[in-house]
């Protein structure tokens, strides 16, 4: 056992941003104790660091699970609507789904930052929400395609932007997730401070 082995500093900073301000000491202490007593002596520095980062990412995904699921479900619902009930004009749907997506990403950042009192938590939540939502939407699209792939459906898919858009757009959402999560995070952290003052 070593009391000097240290996990990646950035991962600890990330953990601090994700957790409620009162929970960081006890939770990071538990992780550090496990890292030093059980993981590092057996696995060595690099694999112990990997373990630590995985644990921190687990905390991040748990904190954004609700928002990520909602975001993914919204994208899957939009895809299903476009494929099975294609409109003549996509403008209204596009506007509604854009506002909904923006709202979910900002809200995820706001809530995370409100909880932890750190604006960085909003950035992390926005990215995690977009990543998780993207994953869900890709899996959802594959599921829909596995069941319905007739010529009429494929024509509707081509008319709504094509399969390329279905599978690349979720990945491109990471950047808006970062920006909008940060916006929500700044608002959430400021609101919490204002509320506690």
């Amino acid at each position: 056992m070593s009391t000097s082995a240290t996990p990646p500093r950035w991962a600890e900073t990330l953990l601090r941003a994700i957790l409620k301000s009162g929970d960081f000491d006890s939770v990071s202490g538990d992780l550090l104790e496990e890292y030093r007593e059980s993981i590092h002596p057996v696995r060595g520095q690099r694999r112990a660091d990997l373990w630590y980062v995985t644990e921190v990412l687990g905390f991040a995904s748990r904190s954004a699970r609700l928002w990520g699921t909602l975001f993914g479900a919204a994208v899957v619902a939009r895809n299903a609507l476009d494929w099975f009930a294609p409109p003549l004009n996509f403008q209204t749907r596009a506007a509604v789904s854009t506002y909904l997506g923006v709202g979910l990403l900002v809200a995820s950042g706001f809530c995370a930052a409100w909880r932890s009192r750190s604006a960085v938590a909003g950035t992390v939540a926005g990215v995690t929400t977009a990543a998780m939502g993207g994953f869900i939407s890709i899996v959802g699209a594959v599921g829909l395609l596995a069941i319905w792939h007739g010529p009429q459906t494929m024509m509707a898919i081509r008319g709504s932007g094509g399969l390329g858009e279905v599978f690349t757009l979720p990945i491109l959402m990471i950047l808006p997730g970062l920006l909008l999560g940060t916006v929500g995070g700044i608002a959430g952290a400021a609101s919490n401070r204002f509320h506690s003052a």
Binding site: D25, S26, D30, L32, E33, G58, F59, R62
Partner: protein, 109 residues
């Protein structure tokens, strides 16, 4: 009626019962891992502890840290009477389900 507990919640509550005064986050994690016989993410245990505390099944207090933790505090947990009641209910439900059957089950069912 007492809260209905999931199996992971039962594992965490029983770890707190077994550990008594030493039931802090990492000790609960190790106990749960040992009883379930598999790796469990620390985040899963912490999320469950927070949820159980939110349901008033357990209570917590902060205690002193140790050098290996870099001096960071430990959060110790103890069972509330409501948590004890929920655990007893969970056990009774399982016993009722198994009543009249011999374990392990044998042959084709």
């Amino acid at each position: 009626m007492a809260d209905i507990l999931g199996s992971f919640e039962q594992a965490v509550l029983l770890a707190i019962v077994r550990l008594r005064e030493d039931a802090y986050g990492r000790a609960v994690l190790k106990e749960v891992q040992s009883r379930l016989g598999r790796d469990v993410a620390a985040g899963a245990v912490h999320a469950t502890l927070a949820r159980l505390e939110g349901k008033n099944l357990i209570a917590s207090r902060l205690g002193p840290g140790t050098p290996v933790r870099g001096g960071r505090s430990r959060r110790f947990y103890r069972l509330h009477p409501k948590g004890l009641h929920a655990l007893n209910d969970a056990r009774m439900t399982v016993d009722n389900l198994w009543h009249g059957l011999t374990w392990p089950l044998k042959g084709s069912v």
